[in-house]
């Protein structure tokens, strides 16, 4: 079931009459049967978008379609969606079984079928032993699986998850995100989940949608968006450690950072931001490359070494300090104080104009 959003807008008005456009004229198509990650910093509008799809929030402008059906004015209980809340929202006074049964009872599903489906769902999420427990007797991860079961039991057209992993501890997070992927693969339900953790989104999504200030920045396969960001924001949001952004300039086909040559281009002369991924630095053993820095800190973690360079801001103020990180092989045995010459992998370098848009 494909989800289509046209010109979707949601405005919140605060008490002092200030208007916030949480979602700003968004056009988005979520392909059927895929796992899509809605990604962005807090306040970017991703949760709002999710709740608009669910129908729990009413849009100010725009339309929403599930397949060929327009659901713009349809109330949430009639849209056929399953929603997993960030805090799971499991009814505390009902057992796991009753929680999962609840939607089926409301949809007047026949009793024996409802019971059978409940057991199937419990098995799908691996909780068939816990059916008679109450939510407070379960761990966070288990509660979430109940929430997923409850959402899926009514065979919804669309499954929505609001920050599904943020309440789990680190170990559980890895485990659970694989679970989500597995369940989605098995059920083939169009699934949208919201997260602020780019690693999470990138690891399991079929496609990611990056949002900022209510506007979609880019949509695509995770690796593609990582390798070909359309703007500075997307480039900085994906990738850990963050992409290094240098102030640079293009002069006569040469890309220069602080006068140092880092690469060549056919673009016209202009001031640019040069984004270089940490893994895009190669140590020049011959020490001939003009692109060099004195290393301030070195962190070695077995396989890789991270070289940390601290540079003062453009106006020389200490407050404006920037930190650059380069990840290189550990074999180079570099220590703080060394001056290292770098070569840059061209595919790991991205040029942006001063407005943040990528330059090809």
């Amino acid at each position: 079931m494909e989800i289509r959003m046209k010109n979707l807008t949601k405005i919140f008005t605060s008490k002092n009459k200030k208007e916030v456009r949480a979602v700003d004229h968004v056009d988005l198509v979520i392909p059927s049967g895929k796992l899509i990650g809605l990604l962005g910093p807090s306040g970017c509008g991703k949760s709002t978008t999710l709740y608009l799809i669910a129908g729990l929030l009413k849009q100010n402008e725009g339309e929403i379609f599930f397949g060929d059906d327009e659901v713009t004015d349809t109330p949430p209980e009639k849209r056929g969606i399953g929603l997993v809340f960030q805090n799971y929202a499991l009814y505390p006074h009902m057992t796991v079984r009753e929680n999962i049964l609840f939607p089926l009872q409301n949809l007047k599903v026949e009793k024996s079928e409802a019971i059978q489906r409940t057991v199937e769902m419990a098995q799908l999420v691996g909780l068939q032993e816990m059916l008679d427990r109450k939510p407070k007797e379960l761990s966070g991860g288990q509660q979430q699986r109940v929430a997923i079961a409850r959402a899926l039991v009514k065979k919804p057209r669309v499954l929505l998850l609001d920050e599904p992993l943020s309440n789990l501890d680190a170990r559980l997070r890895l485990q659970t995100r694989e679970e989500i992927k597995r369940i989605q693969r098995e059920t083939q339900i169009t699934t949208v989940f919201v997260t602020h953790d780019q690693e999470e989104a990138m690891s399991i999504s079929d496609e990611i949608v990056v949002m900022k200030d209510g506007v979609i920045q880019q949509m695509g396969e995770p690796q593609y968006v990582y390798d070909f960001p359309v703007n500075l924001f997307v480039a900085k949001f994906l990738g850990n450690p963050q992409i290094n952004v240098f102030d640079g300039i293009i002069e006569k086909g040469k890309i220069l950072i602080n006068g140092m040559l880092v690469g060549e281009t056919k673009l016209p002369n202009q001031k640019v931001f040069v984004g270089i991924r940490p893994e895009g630095f190669i140590v020049d053993k011959e020490k001939t490359s003009p692109f060099q820095y004195e290393i301030d800190l070195v962190e070695t973690i077995g396989r890789d070494t991270t070289l940390i360079i601290e540079v003062e801001g453009n106006d020389g103020s200490l407050l404006d300090k920037k930190t650059f990180k380069a990840i290189v092989d550990a074999e180079h045995r570099i220590i703080p104080g060394d001056t290292v010459h770098f070569k840059v992998k061209p595919e790991k370098m991205h040029l942006f104009d001063l407005g943040g848009k990528v330059l090809k």
């Binding site: 729990l56 929202a89 409301n106």
Partner: protein, 303 residues
């Protein structure tokens, strides 16, 4: 951790304990003692009191008194009818209040008015409204083509009087319950209602299977405290019927009124013992009711 400042704490508690010692603990024990005194004259012996012995006859006397059973019956009717009715009404009103977009504060204030008033003053207003000829209630009945009822006139039936008393009791009891339920409803996480919407629950299902269960601890608390309060009905009877306690003398007597009736004859031999015995019976009834409610709640109340 904090030191165990034993003696200082007792210093802070001293006023409390002294006052409670005189006016709460001693009377509590004394009530039991008095109730088993025989022929007790409390003010004889220069105030030390004098009795001829110990006996359980006081209790027997009470239990044989027809007026006691009448009082018991009246009190039970008041408690067993007014409490459930007012709780259900208060619940419905609170839920209704929650669902309207505007004017919530206005309604809440209006609904709270009965709590701030003097039961006797309002009782008198009600008494006048129940007047057979000039009363407002009969006037309203006449709008529906019904005959006027003799609510509290000299020849009115027990049913009419009790109905009037119940109407007044429910009316007075709504304010506190509505306030507490409204607060409780606000404390229910909105997420459960969102989840219920996604789960396609109808409004009635939401009320029955989510709101009420989540509110059940509060409902239990109100239930117990209201029941205890209803068993102590007195001011409302005075307000509605005056010192005669009914259209016919003592027709609406309650247990508490019964206790006071004996107390007022304290100079007569043994009468205050009867009062004490009756009060203790009331206490026992209160405890039993609370225990029953506690037991019932085990199954129904969800924490």
């Amino acid at each position: 951790m904090e030191t165990r400042n034993n003696w200082k704490a007792w210093l802070y508690l001293a006023p409390l304990l002294i006052l409670m010692g005189i006016w709460i603990f001693y009377p509590l024990i004394n009530a039991f003692i008095i109730s088993v005194y025989e022929n007790y004259l409390p003010l004889a012996n220069n105030g030390a009191g004098q009795a001829t012995g110990y006996t359980l006859q006081n209790f027997v006397r009470i239990l044989n008194d027809q007026l006691f059973w009448k009082a018991l019956g009246n009190t039970f009717v008041i408690a067993l009818i007014s409490v459930p009715v007012s709780i259900i009404l208060a619940l419905v009103i609170s839920v209704a209040l929650k669902s309207i977009p505007k004017l919530t504060g206005f309604f809440q204030t209006v609904f709270f008015l009965p709590y701030v008033t003097n039961a006797i003053a309002i009782g008198m207003a009600f008494a006048f409204m129940f007047h057979q000829n000039y009363g407002l209630f009969n006037y309203i009945l006449s709008w529906f083509g019904l005959d006027p009822v003799n609510w509290i006139g000299g020849t009115s039936s027990w049913w009419a009087q009790m109905s009037a008393l119940l109407i007044f009791t429910v009316w007075s009891g709504l304010a506190f319950k509505i306030l507490v339920f409204t607060s409780g409803l606000q404390n229910i996480d909105k997420q459960y209602y969102d989840a219920a919407k996604i789960d396609s629950a109808s409004k009635w299902t939401v009320f029955r299977r989510i709101t009420v269960p989540l509110l059940s601890p509060l409902i239990l608390y109100i239930s117990i405290t209201s029941m205890i309060g209803a068993l102590k009905a007195y001011n409302s009877v005075i307000g509605l019927f005056g010192e005669e306690l009914g259209a016919q003398p003592y027709s609406m007597i309650t247990i508490v009124a019964f206790v006071y009736k004996f107390r007022s004859s304290y100079t007569d031999v043994g009468y205050i013992s009867y009062a004490a015995a009756a009060a203790i019976i009331l206490f026992v009834i209160t405890v039993i009711f609370s225990l029953i409610q506690g037991a019932v709640s085990r199954k129904r109340v969800h924490y």
